[in-house]
Symmetry: D2
Subunit: 309 residues, 4 copies
């Protein structure tokens, strides 16, 4: 099971469930996987920015990855391996690939500025993890401060046959998807998979611009999968109706910093995980914020019964 | 007419209307003012980040300000005077105050980092514009990269009696409003007006947290004014219903970089201004993007007839 | 008198002399010009980052420029016109060129990241100031955070015939000079003038790498001119001997933030200007720092008698 | 052997010696230690920014640390444990302390902005590594972009009894040392050790301002130790004479990015290490740059015979 450039559908960004005392909650890993499968996930991404990966010991990270691989047989598991140094990136990449991962996701370090620096970095990263390991480019300037033009992405894709996917979360980014698909249409770039992040805030239109699916952590993966499917079936209005119903909550979740706390809280309310706890240090959700999320859930339930908790 | 700490309601951030050849379109300034007044604006802000202020000659900036002052008699006009140097800030501030402006808005320059640097900068700015000129703190870390804690804002408020208002657009920022209102409640900070920006993306809850109103440029100022009013009247569900109906378009408009082009396009479609043109250099809206906005407008019109164009 | 790509020698970055109460000290402008001419300056740059330009009113800026133009007849005066908006850049550029300036210097705004953004910015700037106005690229990533590769500089040079000079202050930057001169040697870039900044910290080797001279504000312009001349004459060891004698003081001056205060203090001690005052807000030099500078001056005077004050 | 707040003298920042094929060169670790001891080092810092730590596997990092501990008996070994996550920081800190390290050095992550964020981060870091582990604050805004005021440093010192030392490399930073020593003098901050970095560029005056010594990687540790000693003995002019003789080379080494390549090259020429190789990816020194360093060494040798190679 290797990640390929034809990957599509929904790859949830999985949070790491913890118990209140900070241990990984293995039972919740199982219920979370069950929820993803029920939602129609076609893969999963672990150890992403939202996965609290930097708080995990190496053994924990590898064990967690293995549980997802075992729990989602036949589906590709992508592992975030971004690291300040290539030694750590290589170790983790080799270990998870040996364990059965489908590919790795690599974000550029914030210090990169020029086009050549970015292209050079991915060349070095591929050398570090091995040219046989499929990888995903994470393009997330809002958080990472690294700006990749479509031409830079094309250079990375063309230089590295092991590049299978772009995780697109530039903002604004709709034109970027159109430009990249235009490169493919004119034959100047080979096809790659494009899954979109950014909390799903533009998923409705991203699918229309040519995205292959979603890779984000919104606490209703069913909605993400449904919008992807409806758009693929050409049912545009239905896709937007469903998306719009969720947008008030999705928008609330998408706040940087506090977003993970919101997601875990909703997932707990929905029974995906037993506790909303984050391993220290983690942002706490105020009572006021919880009440706001409850209000949003109640309003959503009137339109999408799956939100009833 | 001086800006005071009891300001509330809707202060739209006004764009600057241009003709296709880059001249200021004075007729559109009139129709824009009429639209704001019809929407229930209680003031207006000109020469803000969205107002293309850096593209205006000093004479143009002063003339434009005067037109808003004359066109909205009895209502406070706030003028953005942020500048890389205090000489330009002082010149503009004195000129617009002489012309009848109610106060000025000052954003911190991006290089500021430490708490003391930020507090010190506002002390210098007040010395530059004059301690008799009411001013607004613009707290917009997403764009300006300057992070002000609530305690820093309190220091600025307490140090400078001429501070009348906070334009709040931190993200996430709901807890910040609660914290500042808590300072007031405990008596450690004098009351100030808090109007919220960020494209209105969290206006529904910001009002519940204690904001006094909105200061942003969404192309449906009626919605902003209505949400502010409904929340003030305690009609929470109605406020959220209206807000949610607009959220898909509002979210689309809120994209950094392309947002102004979307706003001007919608305002043109609505008859607020004659042309969506930006003075060079400006971002163009692709045909694809225009079609997306049209689609959003059509969907919105089904819920809010004012969106029918 | 137009700036050309054959400019060479010493273009001091001129500070703006103020009296203790913040007025421009016109008498000190005269003595400063006399000092520059005596040092062998082949041009001068005003309204640069060190010139406290953002503290000047537009009339003051234009008047100051005129005084340098009149005081240095036959020598090119370059004017810094970097501004957050093109309107201000254009106004100032046209005004100073009408007054007799030889060209303008344009720094990229800090938000620029990708290669295309930088190239596009200079295209817009040239459109703003006019394609007939010779301009200088300021490449100063340490302060401006914008990183231009040699290839990006080449694109700007080739796209814009009015580009006459690079003010080089990348750090480290020796290889960059060699690469650019290599472009010229291979015929892929037309010749331009390269003057170096960075406080002069690497002037000794920059000249050997192919720089045409110095554009910086070290308080001993005589040394800068001498090193440029000695290297041009092939007297390498003498150039380094002189440079090394000045390095302890030059290094002390080159500190960001406090550097201008040091320079003005030394210039005052040397009689170039009457007062070390900066217009508010300005960094003050502590008594301890003054004593350190005095100590450095005394030590320098033992090797270079011109340092005796 | 625990690091205490009375640490003083010279703690070189050790590079990691590699063979040409990228393996750690254990023989060169021995010769490097011998050179440090001969130079009068009173401690050493390993796995710092210059130590290529991110390229080391965890086992290699621990083994390297152990070799320094064993090779410098009775002297404190400080270990850089800065990491993007607290899990990795804790693992490394506990492992090296168990192995006999004297303390750890912790740099703030670049995203920190407000005073409270910085203070909060150190509280969390102390909780992660254990309050029993002596730690060093690394204050290096030029590279890390985090700006700590003296008051913030005081808060960290006062909040955390395990804080033993400040590695000072703010720039400019002389006033900062004076301010911190002033805090101690007035009794508002307990005494800590202050060692200075920044490549040694201001060591001459830093000692006069109250620093306890140097912690940097200049390839002539003898000079650093001598300047520290001469200043402690009140032999100011001699200290400056020696410092000034080295300044041209020290300045050349201090360039960000290429600095490590220069240092390793000089150390190789001096016989401290067998090869100047960096583990990939590493900056190469051009032939031209090597010739420049050779020239600087030859010139230095005329003043300090230890530079003869």
């Amino acid at each position: 099971m290797r990640l390929t450039s034809s990957a599509a559908g929904l790859f949830p960004i999985a949070p790491t469930p913890f118990t209140a005392d900070g241990a990984i909650d293995h039972g919740s890993v199982e219920t979370l996987i069950a929820a993803y499968l029920a939602a129609g996930a076609t893969g999963v991404t672990v150890l992403g920015i939202m996965g609290e990966a930097p708080k995990l010991e190496p053994d924990e990270a590898l064990d967690l990855t293995g549980r997802f691989i075992d729990g989602m047989p036949g589906l590709p598991v992508i592992v975030g391996v971004s690291a300040p140094g290539f030694a750590a990136m290589r170790s983790l990449a080799r270990a998870v690939m040996d364990r059965g991962a489908a590919g790795v996701m690599i974000a550029p370090p914030p210090a990169l500025r020029t086009d050549d620096q970015i292209v050079g970095y991915y060349a070095q990263a591929v050398e570090a993890v091995g040219a046989d390991v499929p990888f995903v480019i994470q393009d997330y300037p809002l958080t990472l401060t690294v700006q990749m033009t479509p031409k830079v992405i094309r250079r990375i894709v063309e230089d590295n046959p092991s590049c299978a996917m772009l995780k697109h979360e530039d903002w604004p980014g709709l034109e970027k998807i159109s430009t990249l698909r235009g490169f493919q249409a004119e034959g100047s770039m080979r096809p790659i998979s494009i899954l979109t992040g950014n909390g799903g805030l533009f998923l409705d239109f991203e699918m229309e611009r040519g995205a292959d699916g979603a890779m984000t952590g919104y606490a209703f993966p069913e909605m993400l999968a449904d919008v992807v499917r409806l758009q693929a079936e050409g049912r545009r209005d239905e896709a937007h109706d469903l998306f719009d119903a969720h947008l008030p909550l999705l928008r609330y979740e998408q706040q940087q910093g506090v977003g993970l706390a919101v997601r875990k809280y909703v997932m707990m309310r929905r029974g995906f995980i037993a506790s909303a706890a984050q391993r220290k240090p983690g942002a706490a959700l105020s009572a006021r914020a919880k009440a706001e999320v409850d209000y949003l859930l109640a309003r959503l339930a009137a339109k999408d019964p799956r939100a009833a908790v």
